[in-house]
Symmetry: C3
Subunit: 370 residues, 3 copies
C-alpha cells in the first residue's frame, strides 16, 4: 500500500519564490560599498583558472561586485555567451559543482556538453590527456574539469587552445568554490571588500588545509585580504593540518594563522565559521573532522555566519538552517553568480554586461577607423 | 563478415515527415469543440505538480486545448522559456519520460540540466533531500523528479523555492502521463471534453490500480470527467487490484467502476482500452497482467482506440500498430505538447502564448500605472 | 603532500587561440578551388545518412566546400537550427564523436538531448527498436545513433519519421568520420576535389578494411574520387584484410587497390597515410595492426600528411604531433565543420547559410502564388 504522509496544503499554495535564504537582499550593499573598476576583469580574458593563487585582491573584489550586479538583476538583458559551448568534464562524482557551472553558463545564454562518466570517454581507451585537450579545443569554447588527480589539469592545459577552469583537482585546489566563499563573506560585510574595513574579523576554519581542496583555496584567497582579518584559526584534532610549506606561504602574505583543537573554546569569538569535513581520496572520500560539529546549540557569537561548501554530513546540523547563522545557503546560491561573473570575464564578454572604459590606445584606434 | 539485410530504397527515399500516427490531424477538432478559458491555466502559475488530484475538469480541458493549439502549430513564434533552466533528476531508469520533458522544455526555448545517474550526485554522499532541494532552487527554475520511492518528492518539495513536477514516484503517481492519456482521449472524441458529451464511453483498463502509478493517476483524472463515462472496467486476474480506499475514493467522485478478469468477454463493448503490464519495484519492475494481451486479432469494437503508456512488452502486440486502433503512438506524440502546455502555465508564461484576458483588478492597476 | 610540477608561466600567459593545428588556414584554398553548386546539397534534405555509399563525388565536394565556408567563418550570423532538437543515442562507449556532433548542432543554434547509457533506456526494458524509433520521431528532429550492432540502425530507421545519422554501427560503417577524413584531404590538396587534379596521390591505409568501420567507409568515399588517386595501398600483416566482395566492389568503381605488409618499404612513396589500429567488438575493442607504427622517425615522404580517426594508441606516436605531417588534429577539428555542413543540409536549412538558386520550377510556383 502506498503511504505518503504529507501536508495537503503543500500542494495547494503557490511557491514563495524568494525565501529561506539569508542574505538574499545583500548584493546591493556590496554594490554600494565598492567602486566599479573593470580593468582587473579585462585581464581575466582568455585565461585558465587553475589555482586561487592566480587572483589578487582587486580582482577578487571586482569579480564579487560583478556577481552582485548579476545577482541583483538575475534576468540578463543580453545573452553574452549565445553560441558558445562549455564542456563540463567531471571525472569524479559530483552534481553540485557541475550544476552550478552549467546553470551559470546557461544563464549567460550558452550551450553545454557534459561528460559525466569517465568510462564512456576516450580516456578509457587509453587516450592521453594531451589528445583529450586537443579534442576539447576543437569542440568547445571553455572546459570545466574535475578530476581526482592533482596533476591531470596541468597535463590537459598543455594541449589546450581554450580556457580551462579547475573544478577540483584531487586534494589540491577548488578555486571557484573559494570565490563563492569569499563572495558570501563580502555580501555579509561589504566593508571587508574595501581597503579600510570597519572592523577586522576573526575567521574559524574547521577542517584540514593539507587534505581539503576547498580549504586550501580559501586560505589562499583569505591571505589576499589579510588586512581585513584579525586572525584565521584552523580548528581540528589532527596534528598534520598543513602541507609542507603551506602555512609558511600563508603567513608570509600577512595572514595571522593559528590552530586550535577545542571548538567550544574558540567558537564564541569567531565572526565567520567555515566548516567542512570531507576530503576526496581517489573515487571515495574520508571524514577528517571527527566529532567536530555545529548545531543551533553551539556557542556561536551573535551575528556570526556559518559557511559550508556543501554537500554536508552530520558536521553541520540542520537545526542551524533556520537560524540567522545560516549563510551556507546564500553561499551556494551566490556560487552561480560568481561563476557567471568569472565566465563572462574569461570569455572576453565583460564589455557586454558592464560599461568598460576603453583603454586610451583602443579609443584612438576606434576613432581612426570610424 | 558484415551482413546487413536492408531494402536499399530505404536510404534513397526522403522521409515522410508526417505519417504513421493515427490522430495526428485531430488537434483542430479539439480546438473547435472547446472554448478557450485561460483562468484555470493562470491558477497553475508557480505550482508544484505532484498528484493528479491537484487538477479539476476545467483545468484538464483547458490544458488539453492549449496542447492542441501547440500541436497544431509546433513551431512557436515566441520562445517563452528562453533563459529558463529545467533540472531533470531521474533517479530511476527512464528515457522516454525524460526525453519528453526535455523536448517540451527545449521546444519552449529553455535550457536543460540533466542528472541521470544517482551515483554521481550529492545524494550518494548522504546528502539530504532538503539540501538537494536547496541546490535545485539555486540552480534551476523548475525540477522534474523521478524516484523509486513514493515519499522523496514530498521531502524534496519542502525545501524548494521553485516548482517541481512528479515524473513518477514509486508505485504512487505519474500525473503528467495521465494528462497525456487524457489529451489523447480528448483529441479522439473532443465532445468528451465538453459539459455535454454526445455519448458516454466505456473504458477498459488492463492493469493493477494499486501497483501501477500510471493507472492510479489516470483513474483520478477519469473521475473528474465521470459525467462522460458510462463505466470504467479494470481488467486483470489479480484479486488485490485496488489499494486501501482507492476504489472508494474514485466511486465517491461518481465514477462507475467495475472489475473483470475475462478480457475477451468485455473487449467488444469497450470504446477505449488502456493497457499496461509493468509496475516498478525499487530499481526493477514486475509484470502484473499475466497472459492478458492485445493483438490485431483481439475482438476490439470498431472505432475503439487502444492506449498504452509505453515502453511496451508482449502485452501489446505490434500487429496492432498498423490498425486504426493504434492511438498509443498519438498518445506518445501528444505527451510533448501536453507537457509544453503544462510547463508554460507553471512558469507563468501563459500570457506569451495565448491571449489572456486580464482580471478586472489587474486591468485597473495597469491603467493606473500607465 | 600535494606535488604539482608545472611551469608557473602556464597560468600567467593568455591562451593562443589559434595554434598547434596544421592546415588551420586552408579552408580558403578549398573555397577558391571549387565552384559553389547547391543542388547536390539540396538533395540531402530530409535524408538518412547510414552508409558512405549514399554519397557521390559532387555531393562530397560541395559538402566539403560548405564545411570550409563554415570553418573560415566559425561565428554564424544565423542560427539555422534554432528550436531544433538533436537526439544523440550512443549505445557504445564514445565521447569524441558525440562531442563533435553535439558541438556542430549547438554551433548551428540547436538543442541536444543525450542518451549515453543504454541501461537507463527503454531498451533495457526490452523495448523494440521500432518503438524507440517512434519515440525519437515524437521528441526530436534528428537522431545520431551509435550502436555495437551492424543492424540496429536499419531496424530503427524503419520506424523513423525524422532523419537518422549513423555514428558507427558495429564493424560496418562510420560515414561521417569518412567525410571528415576526406574534408582534411581536400583542404590539404584542393585540386583533388576538382575534376582535373594536378597530380594523382598515393594513399596508404594502415588497418583492416573488413573489421574497421572507419576504413570501410573511407574506402567507399575514396572510390568516388578514384580519378584523383594513383593507388590505395592497404598495409597490414593480416591475410583476411577484406570482407567478402568488399575489394571487388571498390575495384569495380575504378580504385587501384593493392596490399602490402612491409610498412617501411611503401611509406616513402605515400602522399597520404591513414592509420587506425582498433576495431570494435561488442562493448570492447581489439588492436589489429600489430607492431605497425608511425613516429617522427618513420620514413615519411616530405610533404606527406598523416590522418588518424582518433582516439589513438601507441600506433601513432606523439613525436609526430609537432611535425608538419600532423594533419590528424586538423582532421579532428574539421570534423565539426563537415558535420555542421551535413546537418544543415539534412535539416533543410541550407538556404539559410548559402545563396541557393531556386530551381526554375520553384521560381514559377513562387511567382504564381504571390
Amino acid at each position: 500500500m502506498v503511504e505518503v504522509t504529507t501536508d495537503p496544503t503543500l500542494l495547494e499554495r503557490p511557491i514563495e519564490v524568494r525565501s529561506g535564504v539569508s542574505g538574499i537582499e545583500r548584493p546591493l550593499a556590496l554594490l554600494d560599498a565598492v567602486r566599479e573598476n573593470a580593468e582587473p576583469l579585462l585581464n581575466l580574458a582568455n585565461r585558465h583558472v587553475v589555482s586561487a593563487r592566480q587572483f589578487d585582491r582587486e580582482t577578487l573584489v571586482q569579480l564579487s561586485r560583478l556577481a552582485a550586479d548579476m545577482e541583483r538583476q538575475p534576468t540578463l538583458l543580453h545573452q553574452p555567451l549565445s553560441g558558445k559551448i562549455m564542456i563540463t568534464a567531471f571525472y569524479e562524482p559530483s552534481t553540485r559543482t557541475r550544476l552550478s557551472f552549467e546553470s551559470a553558463w546557461h544563464r549567460l545564454g550558452g550551450d553545454v556538453i557534459s561528460i559525466t562518466d569517465p568510462l564512456t570517454t576516450g580516456i578509457a581507451k587509453g587516450e592521453s590527456l594531451r589528445d583529450v585537450a586537443e579534442m576539447f579545443s576543437s569542440y568547445g569554447d571553455l572546459v570545466v574539469l574535475r578530476d581526482n588527480s592533482e596533476g591531470a589539469i596541468y597535463e590537459t592545459l598543455n594541449g589546450l587552445r581554450i580556457p580551462i577552469i579547475n573544478a577540483g583537482n584531487g586534494i589540491d585546489e577548488h578555486p571557484t568554490q573559494a570565490l563563492a566563499d569569499l563572495y558570501a563573506i563580502f555580501k555579509w560585510r561589504p566593508d571587508l571588500a574595501t581597503a579600510s574595513p570597519k572592523e577586522k574579523v576573526r575567521i574559524g576554519i574547521i577542517g584540514t588545509p593539507a587534505r581539503m581542496r576547498t580549504v586550501r583555496s580559501l586560505l589562499i584567497l583569505l591571505s589576499m585580504i589579510s588586512h581585513a582579518i584579525e586572525e584565521v584559526v584552523v580548528i581540528n584534532h589532527d596534528d598534520d593540518l598543513f602541507d609542507d610549506g603551506q602555512r609558511e606561504e600563508l603567513e608570509a602574505s600577512g595572514l595571522n594563522l593559528n590552530t586550535e583543537s577545542n571548538l567550544a573554546s574558540v567558537l564564541p569569538d569567531l565572526d565567520i565559521v567555515y566548516i567542512n569535513s570531507i576530503a576526496w581520496v581517489g573515487d571515495t572520500f574520508e571524514r577528517l573532522t571527527g566529532d567536530l560539529r555545529l548545531t543551533a546549540d553551539s556557542p556561536l557569537k551573535e551575528g556570526a555566519i556559518v559557511l559550508h561548501p556543501l554537500a554536508r554530513g552530520p558536521e553541520l546540523d540542520v537545526t542551524l538552517d533556520s537560524t540567522p547563522h545560516n549563510w551556507y545557503f546564500a553561499q551556494a546560491r551566490g556560487a552561480v553568480f560568481i561563476r557567471m561573473a568569472l565566465l563572462t570575464c574569461i570569455t572576453s564578454r565583460i564589455s557586454q554586461v558592464v560599461d568598460v572604459p576603453l583603454p586610451a590606445a583602443t579609443v584612438n584606434e576606434k576613432t581612426q577607423t570610424q
